[in-house]
Amino acid sequence: MTATFALPFLTLPNEVVTLGPWIVGQAGAPLLPIKPMLDGWDYATDLELQSSLSIDMRAASEVLAIPEQELKLAVTLNVGTGRGRFPRTTKRISSYILDAEAEQLIEMRAIIPGNMLSGRVHARIEVLLAAAPASGSILSPNCVGSRLWSEEISVELEDGGENRFPIEVVSFTETFPNHGHMTAPWYLAWKPGGLAADFGGSIRLYVNSDHRELAQRVVDGDDVTLQAILGDVMVQMITAALDTNDSAEQLRECEEGSVGAQISAWMELAFPRRGLSEIQNMQRNLPGHFHAGIHAAAEVGDLE
């Protein structure tokens, strides 16, 4: 189950829903187990995705507290494309209805024309409630479309990799001539204020390759170097968010994948269970604790 929030009804655990391995490749060619990036793709290459899913309907009925004869589930496969936490556009490729009588193993296969894909392919398999049951417990889902289980995959295509932390190693003397930060070791390009904007599309961290040793440490993934850089990024962004007027309201409204949601997640990581006003007080009165707390949370080993 991939939900990052609590659903207000009973849902299906992985013990009840079994998803087979995803395989992917050029349509018509042998398919291979999925990897984060697919090499050699272009618009002329149609993609094929395959997987299988089975649901133990008896167990599902027990878990959801819905009589087996009343339980009707839908398995949907949505495919999206385009950059960002959410794909730019999403389409339902297939939908299967399952009940106690139906075959419980579903073979899923999608052929996606290359001229519909942009930068990445994102697939989401979901199990939904397909019909409102006549009976059930107070915690049973009862609205058609209730999300009961889901799994997502994302494969980078073409110039893949943009969905990871946006970072680039460049020469600042060539890239930012005449800028005050030309000799800085790194530079975070972003504009405070757009908290609702997509994180991956709004910020970019430039590391100065003119500082050869630093650039090499970044390329090699040196933990302490990365912690120092990420700590600075987090301090900059958290501080800007805290200094925003009505920051609490703005942050509350930010959805998953946005700049604001990321800042909130970093604050929770650095200052678990502290309210916004508490963190603002610490920023004002104990700036050393504030900065060190964030830098400690930037330990790369702790990040996903």
Binding site: T89, I167, E255, V300
Partner: protein, 290 residues
């Protein structure tokens, strides 16, 4: 072979350089560079897909010619009123959405739109906004033309709708457009975006456009929460319409109908059914994953 027309792309460094130059020209009150100068100035950061389609300088030329013509019908190059700018937005969105060769994944890319805005149509962006509004040049949901393309594509009701084809596009306020198209969880599902747009139109008809801003914000917030627990796109078109209607009714509770509509088809309101979703923090990918 793919029929995709490949458009040049401008990478982030190129966008940064272009914006720096625009800031400097603006400070010095200098004229913009002409198209040829822009192409050569930022050449190092312009690139194209290596394969998979056909490079199409003709399409780039057509986009420039047509959008300059549309802008001309709305006051370009002389300073335009808000009304003229809004007229440009609608006319340009219709043209962009109707062009068959622009129904292409190339136009889902931010760097494609950055190229068009920074290089090909820079003077239109400066006219429509200003040289200082960087987000209107860079690719993304606020890009001058990208936002119009996605609005047009999503809100196009199709030729079968005849004179109603552009009804949603022509009716929605700028604020309503922003609430829909700057929320990726809504904008990525065209049927949901259209349903919300229709909900806005119906509610605005009932209570008046002038009172819609807060209502739209409440409604999109509720619908985004609702969509996290129920897949609204799984509902039938009728059920989705009813769901959206209920949310707009709830969001506009207590607001009187327009005087000319009182007594005509008053809608009922419903009790709250939204449960607060609790989101756990989630971290960004590690820096080392390069």
């Amino acid at each position: 072979m793919s029929n995709v027309r490949l458009i040049p792309r401008l990478n982030d460094v190129g966008v940064t350089r272009c914006l720096d130059d625009l800031d400097q020209l603006d400070e010095e009150h200098s004229e913009l560079m002409d198209l040829e100068r822009r192409r050569s100035e930022y050449e190092a950061w312009i690139w194209c897909a290596a394969s998979g389609g056909s490079l199409s300088p003709e399409l780039v030329d057509e986009i420039r010619v047509q959008l300059i013509a549309i802008a001309g019908q709305h006051g370009f190059p002389t300073p335009a009123s808000d009304r003229q700018k809004a007229g440009f937005d609608v006319a340009a969105a219709k043209w962009l959405a109707s062009h068959q060769q622009m129904h292409s994944p190339e136009f889902l890319r931010d760097d494609t739109w950055a190229f068009l805005s920074c290089i090909v149509l820079q003077e239109i962006v400066v006219w429509r906004y200003s040289a200082r509004q960087h987000g209107r040049f860079a690719g993304g949901v606020r890009n001058t033309f990208q936002r119009l393309w996605i609005r047009g594509r999503t809100l196009d009701l199709g030729e079968a709708a005849r004179e109603e084809r552009w009804h949603l596009l022509e009716s929605l306020s700028e604020d309503a457009m922003v609430q829909i198209f700057e929320r990726a969880s809504i904008a990525s599902h065209p049927q949901l975006a259209r349903a919300i747009a229709q909900g806005w139109v119906d509610t605005a008809e009932r209570i008046g456009r002038g009172r819609m801003e807060d209502i739209m914000r409440r409604a999109t917030k509720l619908l985004r929460l609702r969509n996290q627990i129920v897949d609204l796109t799984f509902l039938s078109p009728e059920n989705l319409r009813e769901e959206v209607e209920r949310v707009f009714a709830r969001s506009s509770e207590g607001i009187a109908e327009r005087e000319d509509r009182v007594g005509s088809g008053q809608k009922t309101t419903v009790a709250s059914w939204i449960s607060r979703a609790i989101r756990r923090p989630k971290n960004v990918a590690a820096l080392s994953g390069q």
